[in-house]
């Protein structure tokens, strides 16, 4: 993307976003976990010894001062592990958030949870407050892989937590899994998928393990103390995931996300469709009026900053119309739905065809994307999505 960001162009993007008057979705970040997993690069901290109450009051203050969208189309509580806290604390901060927005029983309301710290009691709290979707970090059905991943739960905890969520009447439950874990075999991954499907969850997210800078895994691999699995095997797992889940009725609607029609995560779809969102909490990111705002990641600094300025935004990035359009294409391409270039043009008042036609022709010729009514990844394109996206940046 061009480094030149013209002020008038920037305000043009802001105007475009305001015109559309789409109410932003709401994201709230709870950065606490029972332990820090060695592969995780999310903004999360071990809960023991942390001033949870202090954090929650800073969060409430940030919401007050910046203002929460009154009627967000979706609400997502992520982390961290939002459910790691005691049930009464959970109830308190859920009420804190819900008290700031209009009630709407049809709104998708997702909360992330881990099998290790979830209880019937907490599920009851969630149910009472209208949570429609529970996303459970199962990760694996094999204890030795869970151990590798540094998870505190065991395979049987997943079954229990899943059953509680179902019994507790949470309408939709998602299971998260990680594959391509060192030493994982194709057969193990196949069994994992088969078992997951047999439970009939409403949604499945399957992520290839990545070695992110700053994580313990990354350091270990660099030092030669850990090896990623063979590229061919990883590719086989990637393809198996698609085949197996597709067969079972879970359509791949995004690179790592699978669900029967109508059960996709609307909140996440918003990200890929370049819709606005307001994020609160340490390290949370917002995308408002064509501007991306990132909050302070450190807990203490977040609280101090909110205390002093009423917000903790440390980074603002305003996009030019062209950058915003490119981003919309890149994000849209991650989904089965693809991206409608006419829609991008209408939204940003530019001609994406003029910008991309050569690239598109090349990628179509290479069987990497299809260009019919919308631009979509072709069958061979899914596994090379980053290389394809790079062509549009």
């Amino acid at each position: 993307m061009t480094p030149r960001r013209l002020d008038n162009d920037r305000s043009a993007v802001a105007a475009i976003h305001r015109q559309q008057q789409a109410e932003p979705s709401l994201y709230v970040h709870i950065p606490f976990c029972e332990t820090k997993c060695p592969y995780c690069d999310f903004n999360s901290y071990r809960v023991a010894g942390r001033d949870v109450d202090g954090y929650l009051s800073a969060l409430a203050r940030e919401m007050d001062q910046r203002g929460v969208p009154r009627n967000p189309p979706t609400l997502f509580l992520g982390g961290g592990t939002p459910t790691v806290v005691e049930p009464d604390t959970l109830a308190r901060y859920l009420d804190d958030i819900l008290g700031r927005i209009q009630p709407d029983p049809t709104r998708e309301f997702t909360v992330e949870a881990n099998p290790g710290s979830l209880t019937r009691e907490k599920i009851a709290v969630l149910k009472e407050r209208g949570v429609t979707r529970l996303s459970l970090g199962a990760q694996s059905f094999f204890d030795h892989h869970l151990a590798t991943l540094g998870r505190v739960h065991a395979a049987r905890d997943i079954e229990e937590a899943y059953a509680w969520a179902r019994d507790g009447g949470i309408p939709e439950v998602n299971l998260d899994f990680i594959y391509a874990v060192p030493k994982m075999t194709l057969r193990e991954w196949n069994e994992t998928l088969a078992r997951a499907v047999s439970w009939a969850p409403d949604h499945l997210s399957c992520y290839a393990l990545t070695f992110e800078p700053g994580t313990e895994f990354f350091t270990k691999r660099r030092a030669g103390r850990m090896r990623s699995i063979d590229e061919g095997l990883e590719l086989a797992m990637f393809r198996l995931t698609h085949r197996r889940l597709d067969h079972a009725g879970y359509k791949r609607y995004e690179i790592s996300n699978f669900a029967p029609a109508g059960y996709e995560c609307k909140h996440n779809l918003g990200y890929w469709r370049n819709r606005p969102y307001a994020g609160f909490g340490a390290g949370a990111v917002s995308y408002l009026d064509g501007e991306r705002l990132s909050n302070e990641r450190g807990l203490a600094r977040y609280a101090t900053s909110v205390g002093e300025h009423g917000h903790a935004v440390v980074e603002r990035e305003a996009l030019t119309t062209e950058d915003a359009a490119r981003e919309m294409v890149v994000l849209g391409l991650r989904t089965q739905h693809g991206v409608d270039l006419a829609e991008v043009d209408a939204r940003y008042g530019i001609s994406t065809r003029a910008l991309f036609q050569q690239t598109i022709d090349k990628l179509v010729a290479g069987d990497l994307i299809t260009d019919t009514d919308r631009l979509r990844l072709a069958r061979r394109g899914w596994r090379l999505a980053d290389g394809i996206s790079a062509e549009f940046v």
């Binding site: 993307m1 994201y27 992520y207 290839a208 393990l209 990545t210 590229e231 061919g232 990883e234 590719l235 990637f238 690179i255 790592s256 996440n268 990200y271 890929w272 969102y277 994020g279 390290g283 949370a284 990111v285 995308y287 991306r292 990132s294 990035e317 981003e327 890149v330 994000l331 991650r334 090349k362 290479g366 990497l368 899914w382 596994r383 090379l384 999505a385 980053d386 290389g387 394809i388 996206s389 790079a390 062509e391 940046v393």
Partner: protein, 599 residues
Amino acid sequence: MRLSHLRNFCIIAHVDHGKSTLADRLLLATGVVTERDFRNQVLDTMDLERERGITIKASAVQMPVQDLTVNLIDTPGHVDFNYEVSRALHACEGALLLVDCAQGVQAQTVANAYLAVEANLEIIPVLNKIDLPGARPDVVAEELAAVLGIDPVGMLTVSAKTGEGVSEILQAIVDQVPPPEGDPEAPVRALIYDATYDDYRGVIVYVRVLDGELKRGMKIKFLSSGREYDVNEVGAFKPLMQKADRIEAGSVGYVVAALKTLDHVKIGDTIAPAKNETVEMIPGFEDPKPLVFCGIYPSSSQDFDELRKSIEKLQLNDASFTFHPESSEALGFGFRCGFLGLLHMEVIQERLEREAGVEIIQTAPNVTYEVKKTNGDIIMVERPAELPDPAHIDELREPTVRASMITPPESIGPLMTLVNDRRGSFVRQEYLSQTRTILVCDIPLAEMVFDFYDLVKSATRGYGTMDYELTGFVKADLVKLRLLVGGTEVDALSVICHRSIAQRRGREIIRALQKTIPRQMFEIALQTAIGGKIIARESIRALRKNVTAKCYGGDVTRKRKLLEKQKAGKKRMRQVGNVSIPQEAFLSVLGRGEEKKKK
């Protein structure tokens, strides 16, 4: 001054045999420099020369010996400057042939000795470094005697380091070097044997006056070009430049005329009075043509101007180095540079890096080919892309050199293997002594430009030395080895090579590219071909999986930055069809091949 009171001599030696130290000793002994301002190696003015032990620019120093005026003319000490050496020798009547008694006769000793013989000089052999524990004056005297066909008895010995034997040398110069001949009354006729560029005075021309005299205020002309100049200043080096009224017949000195660049000063040219039609050109004049070429590019494109300035400045001081701008799709804008030989190339490169302060990328050296076209035209070709259509080529010729290698006899086997490997042929072998043999071979220059010196050194366990001279252009079975990436020819990666090694070279190139072109979304076919015939093929497998698993709201910026980085990396690459080729890949083929050098 009468001619009988003049002596002109030079010192010729192999690198590191102590030429500069002896010169300094002579200057000290004759009082030209004092002990106090005695600075090591007075004659070499450039750092680089001192570091490498090579004298690149000749100069002349005048010293009084008894009632005589003796001029010491310094000569460049390397094969690449053979022509310059021969011109400097023509400015003298005698030569000290200096040999390190521990090292013995080396390739350049022999090459220079022959040049001195050709120039009809009185040769005074001098055995240096007699103070060293490993000195073998008797053996070395035998070797010298074998080379020169003279009596080994009674050769002069010296320790330039301690000064022992220096006065005997001075006496020998007085006694044995003949005084110059010439007609002081005739119109001036002077030999240009060197020139240098000075930031303040412009071009300084070094001359030996044969007849007549050169005076300030004269109008002169250079016979090769007919250009006329006013003489602004003449003088001699004592050892610093000292103005004088005139340079007389038989003497050497410098001339400053209103010359702004070295372009118009040709070594070997003759100076005559302007408006004079009778003075004849001094025989032996040549316009040396560069034989070895390479591309020099700035590592980053914004340094182009800086590089150009430095190259232009270097050329001011060395007209034998040629350059013209060129652009390579692979490396951007840079220069194609021509050199007299390999050492010349290395010296220029180092000077560029040092003086320009910019990092440079140098492509692998290659040579000029001569092409006889079917219509009878003869053209010179420096780059594969310049080759005419094969249908129009009658004959391809490559420069060939005669290399003389001096080596211990037990290394002859490994050396011959090397020579055969490099398409060379045996010419003759001579024994200098029990421990030294001269091996003379003809070798295509193209086979030598890369790493031949290093290989000679290792084949002889460090004892071998080599000298070479161009013998001419010889018809050879040369082919243009085309490189195709994804079916598209990449001119920058194509090479001219001998048919017999095309297969091997092709595989080397492909292997280098396989290592340096990153895997991409498509499989990439790498092929080398001669004409339409593919002779080697490999492929770079397509990337199998390249996708970020997670991309949610908080990841967008980071992910985009990652993609931007990927794209920026790709932008720096050259696109050939669908394939992005990084600079590194070009360098692995065009570059100096550091791996190879380490061998």
